[in-house]
């Protein structure tokens, strides 16, 4: 009897210890959550703060109102919707085209055997290991030279910016995609080939539908990268109506950061929201991609 109670006592003490451990960890989690979302709450509060300046802000604003949003969206002085539209446009086009380039390339690397295949794969990875940022001067000069001939693909054009972004489409994501393609058994292709399907038909009709999960992940990461890219856009775009949202916000903050903190906060929130929603909604897929080495800028 006595041994039984002691075991029970041990068990309950273990359970108590575990409960204590969970409670401790929940407290730590709470602290971490405060650390991670405090800036966001602060910005939300700032965006509703009627006085709009950095100095007068409190976490729960007095006389909360939509004044900052009105000033941002309706005053006409900040072309917010133009910037936002530019960002969406550039990110969408870049994301779709880059995905097409990556997928077709990965398909060739996965399904065909040709001389120099390994070397090319490694070379692509090595070349893309050099951050595009480092070649900024050269890229800038090249685009300005383009513009001397065709202004449409020169400085201050979205086309040139998208083209520069697409230059890195044959990058690290090709590895991720190729890895995924390698897991699709070749027998599927062979069977279709026996039926008389061409490479192109096999690719579009058979392989692409199977690739859907990874296409979504890479597509979204491409989108997020292009949407958040700042340096190239800052250097290549010159006039306000061509700016992306990131460039616009950065230039806005350079001029009137402290006085118009509330307006910036409103813009930052609207700008961050689409990406945040995508991320939280698809976090499982994106996390899967990240752990396999996909990149986000």
């Amino acid at each position: 009897m006595s041994s039984l109670t002691s075991i029970q006592g041990l068990r309950s003490s273990a359970r108590a210890q575990r409960r204590f451990g969970i409670a401790m960890r929940l407290i730590i989690a709470a602290i971490l959550i405060v650390f991670s979302i405090f800036p966001i709450l602060w910005v939300i509060s700032a965006s509703f703060n009627p006085t709009g300046s950095l100095a007068t802000q409190t976490l729960i604003p007095r006389n909360a109102g939509m004044g900052n949003y009105r000033e941002l969206l309706n005053s006409g002085e900040i072309p917010f919707w133009t910037w936002f539209g530019n960002s969406i446009k550039i990110a969408s086009i870049t994301s779709v085209l880059a995905l097409a380039i990556t997928t077709a390339g990965a398909y060739a690397f996965s399904r065909f055997r040709f001389r120099g295949r390994q070397t090319m794969l490694k070379g692509i990875l090595l070349i893309n290991a050099f951050p595009a940022l480092l070649a900024l001067v050269a890229t800038f000069l090249m685009i300005s030279q383009f513009g001397d001939i065709l202004p449409g693909i020169g400085l201050n054009s979205h086309v040139s910016l998208i083209l520069v972004y697409l230059g890195t489409a044959m990058g690290i994501n090709i590895w991720l995609m190729k890895g995924f393609l390698d897991t699709i058994p070749r027998e599927i292709d062979e069977a279709a080939r026996v039926e008389g399907a061409s490479d192109w038909q096999i690719f579009t009709k058979l392989i692409l539908p199977l690739l859907r999960p990874i296409l979504i992940v890479i597509g979204i990461l491409n989108y997020i990268t292009a949407y958040g890219e700042f340096v190239l856009a800052r250097v290549l775009l010159k006039t306000s109506e061509q700016f992306t949202l990131m460039v616009g916000l950065q230039i806005f903050t350079q001029a009137q950061f402290q006085q118009r903190w509330g307006v910036f906060a409103a813009g930052a929130l609207i700008g961050a929201l689409p990406i945040m929603i995508i991320y939280l909604a698809l976090q499982d897929q994106i996390v899967g991609g990240l752990t396999q080495g996909a990149v986000k800028g």
Binding site: R25, L141, L166
Partner: protein
């Protein structure tokens, strides 16, 4: 790998029988593209952009070879991607290498041809030069002619690009002369009255007469035969002033006289290893550069350690299938990662603002003191590390929790039997196995932070400034933001050459790390 032969035979044997019409269409499209690109190339060449023209030509040849030759069929799948990579990634790398060996930058922005052309256009009036009084005539098409009268009263007709002539009335369309010896009419031209001629902006620009003996309007009353001020001597690579006889020697892309006076504009010229030598041994630059490099490494290293440590700690803490609210906690903790970095960095800049920002006001009211996040070099470095921690720990949290789940429970069970403490389990099982899995990502993160321009530039633009540096540099500048300042902060003197040289050094460094990463991880299948 046994399947390779069968595939090779398939690839080689797969002669797809594309019908003739689509194939012809493809061929025509290719020709159309070729024609457009070649037109573009010719324009590039005519503007003197030879490196870019060469790059585009190589890419064009490559694309055509791939599309036309049968053995290159697999490459067709990626030809667009490769062409774009060639133009926007590889060419800029080569171009950067080239620029790093030149003096490209402020005062050296044009080619030598363009610069000598501009310098040779300068004129002077030799002492023995002839001066004339002049009368201008203008044709309806906008061409000008001058009627010149020299000191002896002889009349000359001067047109652009032709030698002077001495026509008599009636010849070459010249009408009757008036009492001053000036023709009343010239056929096809209309005489300009003195006021219109004096105010005509074009007139002073035009060189009349034949090349080398040109005549130019110098004042409302005088036109004179001007000679080129400089003559270029290709043997000595120098400009010689005809007026003073001074020789201006080409020194590093500027024609410079012995006494130091220079002819503008300068031009782009190879300076060999000067930029690299400056980077490594210039005493003026050594101070700031050494500090920038040290901080660059420290920043990348500490960012990695802190971000990874916090991410890992969180991952281990919640690596428990039955933990309550696990999903919600994770969603809340990855929020920092879901916002575009630019926005979060700017938010932090506002929050850490001294006096006005929330943190400083809070600390101020609690302790009566708050760190000067932007003006003190150490506090701004700490601020940058804190912001980076906030930005990146969610990434490591996600990556580590994924990797932790792949570590087999058996190891821990065995360790418990042997009586290992939790601490020992962590150091001897968790960490080594985890590092194998996330090692490549750690290296990638190090190189990413090594060039994390966004954070440095957006947070504080590399400030506070270092005192007494020859080129602007700040205490939180890393190499890449220093390069950006050199190349793009127009008002402080751009220096593409030196910026590119630093870029190459970073290139090499990042390349070595990447190769190392390839070597010691199993990325190659």
């Amino acid at each position: 790998m046994t399947s390779i032969p069968s595939q090779e035979s398939r690839t080689a044997g797969a002669t797809s029988s594309i019908p003739v019409l689509p194939r012809l269409m493809n061929f025509l499209i290719l020709i159309a593209i070729d024609v457009c690109v070649i037109w573009f190339l010719s324009r590039l060449v005519s503007l003197g952009y030879y490196p870019l023209a060469a790059a585009i030509l190589i890419i064009l040849v490559f694309v055509n070879v791939v599309l036309l030759l049968r053995p290159a069929r697999p490459i067709r799948w990626m030809v667009i991607g490769l062409a774009l990579m060639g133009l926007f990634v590889i060419y800029p790398i080569f171009f950067t290498v080239w620029v790093s060996f030149t003096n490209y930058g402020e005062g050296h922005l044009i080619t030598k041809e363009q610069a000598t052309d501009q310098i040779l256009r300068a004129k002077y009036l030799p002492e023995a030069g002839k001066a004339y009084s002049w009368t201008a005539f203008k044709s309806p098409q906008g061409d000008y002619a001058l009627w010149l009268v020299d000191a002896d009263g002889n009349g000359y007709l001067a047109m652009v690009g032709e030698p002077l002539t001495q026509p008599q009335p009636g010849e070459a369309g010249v009408g009757e002369l008036d009492e001053k010896g000036i023709p009343t009419t010239i056929e096809g031209y209309q005489k300009l009255n003195a006021i219109r001629a004096a105010t005509d902006q074009n007139l002073t620009e035009i060189l009349f007469g034949e090349e080398g003996k040109t005549i130019q309007v110098r004042s409302p009353s005088e036109a004179a035969e001007l000679l080129p001020l400089y003559i270029y001597d290709p043997d000595r690579d120098a400009m010689i002033s005809q007026e003073t006889g001074i020789t201006y020697q080409n020194i590093r892309g500027t024609f410079t006289a012995q006494n130091g006076t220079q002819l503008r504009p300068g031009f782009i010229e190879s300076v060999r290893f000067t930029n690299f030598r400056d980077f490594f041994i210039s005493p003026a630059l050594r101070g700031p550069l050494v500090r920038i490099i040290l901080w660059n490494f420290a920043f990348a290293f500490f960012s990695l350690v802190f971000n990874f440590a916090l991410g890992l700690a969180i991952a281990i803490m919640f690596n428990d299938k039955f933990f309550p609210f696990k999903k919600v906690i994770r969603s809340l903790l990855i929020i920092p990662y879901t916002i575009p970095a630019l926005i979060t960095i700017l938010i932090w800049r506002g929050m850490l603002n001294p006096e006005l920002g929330v943190f400083d006001r809070m600390l101020e009211s609690l302790f009566g003191w708050a760190p000067p996040w932007f003006t003190d070099q150490w506090w701004s470095k700490i601020a940058i590390l804190i912001v980076n921690l906030w930005l990146s720990y969610p990434y490591f949290m996600l990556v580590c929790s994924g990797a932790l789940q792949s570590i087999s429970e058996d190891y821990y069970a065995a360790a418990q039997v042997d009586g290992a403490s939790l601490w020992q389990q962590f150091w001897n099982i968790t960490l080594p196995l985890l590092l194998v899995a996330v090692g490549p990502l750690l290296v990638a993160s190090f190189t990413f932070n090594f060039n994390n321009f966004n954070l440095i530039y957006l947070f504080n633009q590399g400030l506070p400034p270092m005192a007494g540096t020859p080129t602007p540099a700040g205490h939180t500048d890393i190499l890449i933001s220093y390069v950006y300042n050199l190349a793009f902060s127009g008002n402080r003197g751009v220096n593409y050459g030196f910026a590119s040289a630093i870029t190459i050094v970073i290139f090499l460094f990042v390349g070595v790390i990447t190769l190392f990463q390839f070597r010691f991880t199993n990325m190659w299948e």
